[in-house]
Amino acid sequence: MQKYSAFELFKRALGGHQGWERQWRQPALKPAYDAVIIGAGGHGLATAYYLAKEHGVRNVAVIERGWLGGGNTGRNTTIIRSNYLFDESAALYDHALKIWDTLSQDINYNVMYSARGVMMLAHTVHDVQSAKRHIHANRLNGVDNEWLTPEQAKEFCPPLNISQNIRYPIMGAALQRRGGTARHDAVAWGYARAADALGVDIIQNCEVTGIRRDASGAVEAVETTKGVVRTKKVGVVAAGHTSVVMAMAGLRMPLESYPLQALVSEPVKPAFPCVVMSNTIHAYISQSDKGELVIGAGTDAYTSYSQRGALHITEHTLDAICELFPMFRRMRMLRNWGGIVDVTPDRSPILSKTAVPGLYVNCGWGTGGFKATPGSGHVFAHTIARDEPHPINAPFTLDRFRDGYLIDEAAAAAVAH
């Protein structure tokens, strides 16, 4: 792998930038692999990278129906935080947050992680109580989170409207200073390049059409549009399409796939210093380094694989943005789009072995999977390589729905849903 550095940049500039290598190969599908990952999004590529790097499993294929990073990895609003209520969630998301800190150095790719602070607004007495409960729970788990008065919130984020004359006045906010954003595409590209350099084959434009099982029920091969691949281990990291892929192995999943929309404005000069989220009035916003305001909405009401949602959902979100930040009222929106998010009943992910030997699943990230990308890949690679979960993802089993050990972040309302 060609190492990226300031010196390298200078050297290549002298040659008119002609000497750069391709970031990853376009290999042909081999007839057999030690492990196959279905889905080349951030989580799938991270899984392959850590399989190769930490567990020495390098004969790995990552199979992608479209192009890498073209699903929810390229469609989310890039928010990173770990202020979840329950111990299990805090451990999982904070594991990821710690990896974000040094990820760019580790994979030699600038993922533009920016710990600019994530501020979650409280508009009602219930919000205040819930936010403070989260702050105390987070602190017990060693996760930073602090309470701000409306005035302190405005000091941290000057565009914020803390007037008492709006429909849902701001009563305070919870601030996680280590939270922030990263460049979503760079995360997928960086992991792809690093995994490729370790020998992982990334096969794009190749749809999985079946999962073959032997007489004992264990996984023996994956059927794709580019041929059959023999493998003993399959990791499904297919986000919104997980139910479809798992059905190929005869498994039903506790998942429903919903459209989730986001939109960006025209680019403007730096005007917005942090990330602001409001679960109560369903809006979240940050400003990208390109200058666009990146705005996320809530999910649409119904399940769908259409990758688009209804306009009234984004309209509702923009109403909230305009009220919270009156200075953006005359901004024009450039693009909006939808992704398909796989939502579990308890709004916590599933990183688990399954009833089928050799079949592993990483799904159910719902509306907030991007932030967990490095941690998710790290513990899922452990699960696949050792055939047993990492202590951090041990609670996130598929069996928890049968056994009643839900990790009920849905009730905790830590996420906008």
């Binding site: 139910s243 999943m253 429903e256 399940t303 694989y305």
Partner: protein, 100 residues
């Protein structure tokens, strides 16, 4: 925004409705003897198909009644809607009719 045909009130915009999840998920009989997996299947496991989906809707800002619908989850096209309690319609025949 979707236009949804309430079997009682007729076609109305989506914002009048509440989505009610997968339809025809029957509560298994003999609750006291059921094993955990059967209960979990009913409570949590969903078909989540990419294609035709049998689902419940409630006309919350209209007649208030629950009804069932068949929708293609790829195109969001409603094949048909029918009253709660009625059996699953013959979707293949309906699609053939609509194609004609």
């Amino acid at each position: 925004m979707l236009i949804i045909n309430c079997p009682i009130c007729g076609p109305r915009p989506e914002i009048e409705f509440r989505y009610g999840g997968e339809a025809h998920v029957a509560r298994p009989a003999g609750t006291e003897t059921l094993d955990d997996q059967t209960v979990a299947d009913r409570l949590y496991m969903r078909t989540n198909p990419k294609g035709l989906h049998f689902e419940r809707w409630r006309h919350a800002h209209g007649c208030g009644k629950y009804f069932n619908a068949v929708r293609d989850t790829v195109s969001d096209f409603f094949v048909t809607t029918y009253k709660a309690g009625e059996p699953k319609p013959d979707v293949a025949a309906l699609l053939k009719d609509q194609a004609r």
